[in-house]
């Protein structure tokens, strides 16, 4: 026993993971930093981002584990190791445990930094432990499969290919619809502050990951000893995994969630703007954006008289009774998002209506952005010709400038007469003043 503990200590000091746990921690932090907002910090979003980041970094641990599994062969000491007192499976387990351990320590260090930052800045919700645990289990299972691959197929190509294959298999179920989607460990994600994050499948996901880990461990042991306990371990892991897959697929499509209660925070300007309290940190700039965009439309029939935050981008729009429905999460969810991104989206809601993107709508949208002082991204081609630009096609710029040069009262009079037709998509460039 003492010898085994000493072996683990030596392995922990000599393991390649020791050099990589800080980069792993940095990667976890970086992933969360790049996929969440620096302005609106929400506990559910950060918890899910930590799960996803730890899982993604876990695929890199897969490659490192596969690399470590081939170490003895690589430095030609396999025959030397045969002469040691410890059975080879103990050496394998020591190397697997320390490689996985260093990987998990790195992930946990990165997660701790992220969660500590969230604890100081979060404006909504409470930390979710279950997704973080699922992320760590994914990382552990990935590392174990990497080590198993390195044990069975030692070679220069094993480490990179095992990392890519594990990544693909982790994310492939995401391409399917329900019920296969239930096998996707990332299916239960953060969508909106209006609804709780689902964790009802997490126990099954955890059991499936544990089963896969035990199966991989069985495969590692089977390489050294093809005895009953090794076969038993592998078969138990396989049986548990298959059982979980069957149950998960049988769950079917998840039901709808009840919205969480909240008290909207409203502010009164030229129009009333009501938002979820989680977005209080950006309420002032959001109200400012809406004010600047709707100011020229005040008094125009069909123009918004109130703005209300809605749970999802699918509910964006302008209702017939003049309520502008917007969702700032799309704009503030990620680093770099902000009022300009929000303005771009709200200007679309104000002009496109039900029929998106005809010539007159593009011109008025461009003018609304310009008069609000929002930088306009100019596209070289029209929207329906592909490309990633969400701005205004270049050929409309002269029309925007002509409309902007009109006296304010002429513009307002034109909008008063034509705004409803504009949002219905009934106007052409010739109809513009």
């Amino acid at each position: 026993m003492t010898a085994s503990i000493r072996l683990f200590r030596i392995e922990a000091r000599r393991n390649f993971g020791l050099f990589l746990f800080l980069p792993f921690a940095a990667m976890v932090w970086c992933f969360v930093f790049l996929t969440t907002s620096d302005k609106v910090v929400l506990w559910p979003q950060v918890s899910i981002a930590v799960r996803d980041s730890v899982a993604v970094v876990g695929t890199a641990v897969t490659g490192v584990a596969a690399w470590m599994a081939g170490r003895g062969r690589r430095v030609r000491i396999e025959e030397l190791l045969v002469t040691t007192a410890q059975p080879p499976v103990i050496r394998d387990l020591a190397a697997w445990a320390t490689t996985t351990g260093w990987g998990l320590i790195g992930c946990m260090l990165g997660a701790t930094i992220v969660l500590a930052h969230a604890s100081l800045n979060a404006t909504w919700g409470s930390p979710l432990v279950v997704p973080v645990v699922i992320g760590l289990l994914i990382a552990a299972a990935s590392a174990t499969w990497g080590y198993a691959a390195g044990t069975w197929f030692p070679g220069r190509f094993t480490a990179p290919l095992s990392a890519v294959v594990v990544f693909l298999f982790l994310f492939l179920p995401g391409a399917f619809s329900y019920p296969i989607q239930n096998l996707n460990f990332f299916s239960q994600s953060f969508d909106s502050v209006f609804f709780p994050v689902r964790t009802d499948l997490s126990p099954l996901h955890a059991a499936m990951l544990l089963g896969l880990t035990v199966l991989a461990l069985g495969c590692i042991v089977l390489k050294r000893h093809r005895n009953l306990p090794a076969w038993g371990t592998a078969l138990a892991g396989a049986a548990a995994s298959v059982a979980c897959v069957v149950v998960l697929v049988g769950v079917g499509r998840p039901g709808t969630m009840s919205p969480l209660p909240y008290e909207p925070v409203c502010s009164q300007g030229s129009i009333e703007v009501c938002m979820h309290p989680a977005y209080q940190a950006v309420q002032a700039e959001t109200v400012d954006v809406i004010e600047r965009l709707t100011q020229p439309l005040v008094g125009v029939p069909g123009a918004p008289t109130k703005a209300v935050q809605v749970p999802s981008a699918a509910e964006w729009g302008l209702t017939p009774d003049g309520v502008l429905r917007f969702e700032p999460h799309e704009s503030y969810a990620f680093l770099g998002g902000g009022p300009d991104s929000l303005a771009s989206q709200i200007s679309g809601v104000l002009t496109y209506g039900a029929a998106c993107c005809d010539e007159a709508q593009e011109v008025i949208r461009g003018w609304l952005l310009e008069q609000a002082g929002v930088p306009i991204a100019i596209c070289e081609e029209d929207r329906d010709e592909g490309g990633v630009c969400t701005g205004v096609p270049r050929r409309y710029v002269p029309h925007i400038e002509r409309f902007a040069a009109l006296p304010p009262e002429v513009r307002h009079a034109w909008l008063y007469d034509n705004y409803a037709a504009l949002t219905r998509g009934e106007l052409t460039l010739e109809d513009l003043p």
């Binding site: 220069r156 190509f157 290919l161 990633v388």
Partner: protein, 204 residues
């Protein structure tokens, strides 16, 4: 000719070619299996391959090429009387062209996507070859893999991928093509002019 044959054998070029062909074949089989009926689970709405395929299949091919640059002789090899640069360049050129050919064939099973396959293969291969001079060829997979995962993850989350996430940008994005071409040029130059940073005496 013998020198070239021995050089390719020392780099496991045959196995690398086999893995590249297998990678494309397995992806094609997977696509065939997952596209029965009306749904195509590995395709975008426009019929081109999904982002997962567009990023990770060329990435895997590039990692195989990068790891394949490992030579088992270390500094001993550099004492050879003839320059090894043409051999290294030829070896890499053959592998890149072979990977491009297999990916082109793979792209036939979708509507489009070939240009993105080629761009991402070029960029990731360049990154792997640059990494091989820094970390050694056997660990050259780590930096491009970490970058590829990050570009995919962040690119999927953002509506409009930033330029640094060039593998996720559309096919006709000139800047991303330029970045990938520069990376390949730099990577092949670095790997051809100076061998990967590997020590002698270790097996692969």
């Amino acid at each position: 000719m013998t020198v070239a044959r021995l050089f390719l054998r020392s780099r496991r070029a045959g196995w690398a070619a086999f893995y590249l062909a297998t990678l494309a074949a397995l992806t094609a089989v997977l696509h065939l299996a997952l596209s029965r009926g009306e749904e195509d689970h590995l395709a975008s709405p426009d019929g081109s391959p999904s982002a997962l395929v567009l990023v990770f299949v060329p990435l895997a091919a590039a990692l195989v090429i990068g790891v394949g640059a490992y030579g088992p002789f270390g500094e001993v090899e550099r004492t050879a009387s003839r320059s090894l640069s043409p051999l290294r360049f030829g070896h890499l050129a053959v592998l890149v062209l072979w990977a491009a050919a297999t990916l082109s064939l793979l792209a036939l099973s979708w509507d489009g996507g070939n240009l993105v396959f080629m761009r991402n293969l070029a960029g990731f291969t360049g990154m792997a070859l640059i990494a091989s001079s820094l970390t050694g060829a056997r660990l050259s997979w780590a930096p491009p893999f970490a970058y590829g995962v990050m570009a995919y993850w962040v690119g999927m989350a953002a509506a409009e991928p930033k330029l640094w996430a060039w593998p996720m940008r559309p096919a006709d994005d000139g800047w991303s093509i330029a970045i990938a071409a520069c990376l390949l040029l730099l990577g092949v130059s670095v790997a051809a002019l100076g061998a990967a940073r590997d020590s002698a005496g270790e097996l692969e």
